[in-house]
């Protein structure tokens, strides 16, 4: 009898516990999976539509026309697409190099040195990230217009370096701050001079942070549309600008091919890096 009531209370009492536990164990993974599906639906569409045929008049279409591998075999059928990708790559590489160098230097100064004006330095680094892109783009344009600096690749580069610096600082700073200072002390105890310590201890330890910052800077630059659009002038067409301009006439399927290539290429790179990291750790 006693056992029976015990069983009964055991089944009755934690009812809402069981309910919330059920919710917690199923609801959260369910939302997680739904969220991932949500993130990937457009990617699937981009990939599928890279096999879309063109309309009879040669234009791209938002709706499905027919299956064709034409876009994959003739990516550069419109030379402007490939030229735009080339421009984006060029701007991306140059602004990544400049932004990463400048940002890393600032990060070292912030973590490793004492100096006057730390507060205002921090604020100047934080503000560009707290400013909408329209404001960044339009204020630079206002400067270029009032100083009569001609718009072109130089103004785009200036803009890209400007908005990547802050992100580089934040990324490298996080890595530097998490570094165990005893490792450097150990190197110096073993008679390494400052240069050697930096070259053989500090730099290799911070390198993953710098690499992550550079990747972030490159993807920000390559994908930027708003700031570029304000400061590019008529002569420059980056890949996002090409997509924007062609959206009015119907985006050609080649754009989806390039989107898919970028996606799979970057994914492969990340997975390879992870695998390499695993092998190394073994």
């Amino acid at each position: 009898m006693a056992i029976a009531t015990e069983k009964a209370t055991d089944a009755r009492l934690p009812l809402h516990y069981r309910f919330t536990r059920y919710l917690r164990s199923h609801f959260i993974p369910a939302i997680g999976i739904l969220g991932l599906i949500y993130l990937f639906v457009p990617i699937a569409v981009v990939f599928a539509f890279s096999f879309n045929d063109r309309l009879p008049n040669g234009r791209g279409s938002v709706s499905w026309v027919g299956f064709s591998t034409d876009a994959w075999t003739n990516i550069c059928v419109d030379p402007n697409i490939c030229r735009a990708v080339g421009t984006s790559l060029q701007i991306g590489v140059l602004s990544t190099i400049a932004g990463t160098v400048l940002g890393t230097m600032i990060a070292f100064a912030l973590v490793r040195h004492r100096f006057r004006g730390r507060q205002s330095t921090n604020l100047t680094i934080f503000l560009p990230m707290a400013t909408p892109e329209v404001v960044l783009g339009s204020s630079l344009l206002a400067l270029f217009l009032s100083t009569r600096i001609p718009l072109g690749i130089v103004t785009v580069l200036i803009a890209h370096v400007m908005f990547t610096i802050s992100f580089v600082v934040v990324t490298v700073k996080a890595r530097l701050a998490g570094l165990d200072p005893r490792l450097e002390q150990a190197a110096m105890d073993l008679y390494a001079d400052e240069k050697q310590t930096f070259r053989y201890i500090t730099l290799p330890l911070v390198a993953p942070g710098i690499a992550a910052a550079a990747l972030l800077a490159f993807s920000l630059s390559f994908d930027d549309f708003i700031i570029t659009y304000f400061n590019k002038g008529p002569s420059i067409t980056t890949f996002p600008v090409y997509v924007w301009a062609s959206a009015a006439r119907g985006v050609p399927p080649q754009v989806n091919v390039i989107g898919s290539l970028m996606f799979f290429g970057a994914l492969a790179l990340v997975l390879l890096a992870q695998l390499a990291g695993k092998v190394k750790r073994r």
């Binding site: 516990y17 919330t20 609801f27 959260i28 939302i31 997680g32 993130l39 990937f40 457009p42 990617i43 569409v45 981009v46 539509f49 938002v62 709706s63 400048l102 940002g103 600032i106 100064a109 490793r112 040195h113 004492r114 330095t121 100047t124 503000l127 560009p128 707290a130 909408p132 892109e133 329209v134 404001v135 339009s138 204020s139 206002a142 400067l143 217009l145 009032s146 400007m162 610096i165 802050s166 200072p181 110096m188 400052e194 390559f222 994908d223 549309f225 708003i226 659009y229 890949f239 997509v243 924007w244 985006v251 989806n256 989107g259 898919s260 970028m262 996606f263 970057a266 990340v270 997975l271």
Partner: protein
């Protein structure tokens, strides 16, 4: 060398938190700072000043082609803001809505990755960022296909009579939807970063002390995740307010946001109007950001 000889920095055995590094004084700091900070001053701070000056300019003749001269024409602000107040308010409304929806979707997602994903954690994080490798514009354009009037989603919702306008594309719903999609990872990643740092034993302790899971979430998990919530909402809200791509590609003239207005005014050479709107947007956002950070009590974010 200064470091190695610094007294008071114990060489502790592993496992303890590393001792605070002694910061050095000297000229090196300025050598490291000056190039990058000069870039930011010349191409971020000074342009803001330039934008402000432009916003006060006076037209030389009638029509924008006649050019402008520098002046202190404060009416530019009242004129621009009274003309485009709808777009201004709409931007904050859409961005706020998108931020809340993002938070609702992201919290369980980040929670799942931080506490339940186990060895899949890194892969899931890569998957969250992965859509970003495919251009912002291409992804937004893909939503145009998905939400199209003859598309599966619209037809299905219509068969259930869910849509007041009988369509999704070119409605505010589509714009907010696009904003949520495009800025979701900006919410998930900071949330994940702060959830991941929470010691799960704290949540267990709450349960041991008879807190129901809901109360535990309210009193323990959410307060500890606050820095991530603040960072995530800001990273979503700020770019969403100024965005004009989603409104342009997925919306209609009735969903124009302030970004669209600024962009078209610049394109039409109506520089003072565009500058006044842009500067006002910046000012309002800064006020919102700083009040929010104050209220949320996470000033270390700066």
């Amino acid at each position: 060398m200064a470091i190695a000889l610094t007294p008071g920095v114990p060489i502790a055995p592993g496992g303890e938190a590393p001792p605070e590094r002694v910061k050095r004084k000297g000229k090196t700091a300025y050598f490291l700072l000056i190039p990058g900070m000069a870039w930011l001053v010349f191409f971020f701070v000074i342009p803001l000043g330039s934008l402000f000056l432009t916003s006060l300019e006076r037209p030389l003749g009638s029509g924008p082609s006649a050019g402008y001269e520098s002046a202190l024409r404060w009416q530019n602000y009242t004129e621009a803001l009274s003309k485009y107040d709808t777009e201004f308010l709409r931007s904050f409304w859409y961005a706020g809505l998108a931020t809340i929806v993002c938070l609702i979707i992201s919290f369980p997602l980040a929670y799942f990755i931080a506490f339940r994903a186990g060895r899949w954690r890194n892969l899931l994080l890569v998957l969250i960022v992965a859509p970003f490798f495919c251009s912002f514009l291409i992804r937004t354009y893909a939503w145009k296909t998905i939400l199209a009037d003859d598309g599966f989603i619209t037809t299905f919702a219509n068969s259930l009579n869910l849509l007041p306008d009988d369509r999704i594309l070119a409605t505010p719903l589509a714009v907010v939807f696009g904003l949520v999609y495009n800025f979701l990872p900006f919410m998930v990643l900071p949330l994940y970063a702060s959830l991941e740092r929470i010691d799960p034993r704290l949540i267990e302790a709450a349960a041991d002390l008879y807190a129901r899971p809901w109360i535990g979430l309210q009193r323990v998990t959410i307060p500890l995740a606050m820095p991530g919530i603040v960072a995530g909402t800001l990273l979503t809200f700020i770019p969403a307010t100024g965005d004009f791509i989603n409104s342009q590609l997925l919306g209609s003239p009735r969903t124009r946001m302030i970004g669209n207005v600024i962009q078209t005014q610049f394109a039409r050479d109506a520089l003072p109007t565009a500058a006044a709107l842009s500067f006002s947007l910046m000012a309002v956002i800064l006020v919102v950001v700083f009040t929010y950070i104050r209220r949320a009590g996470t000033e270390e974010l700066l």
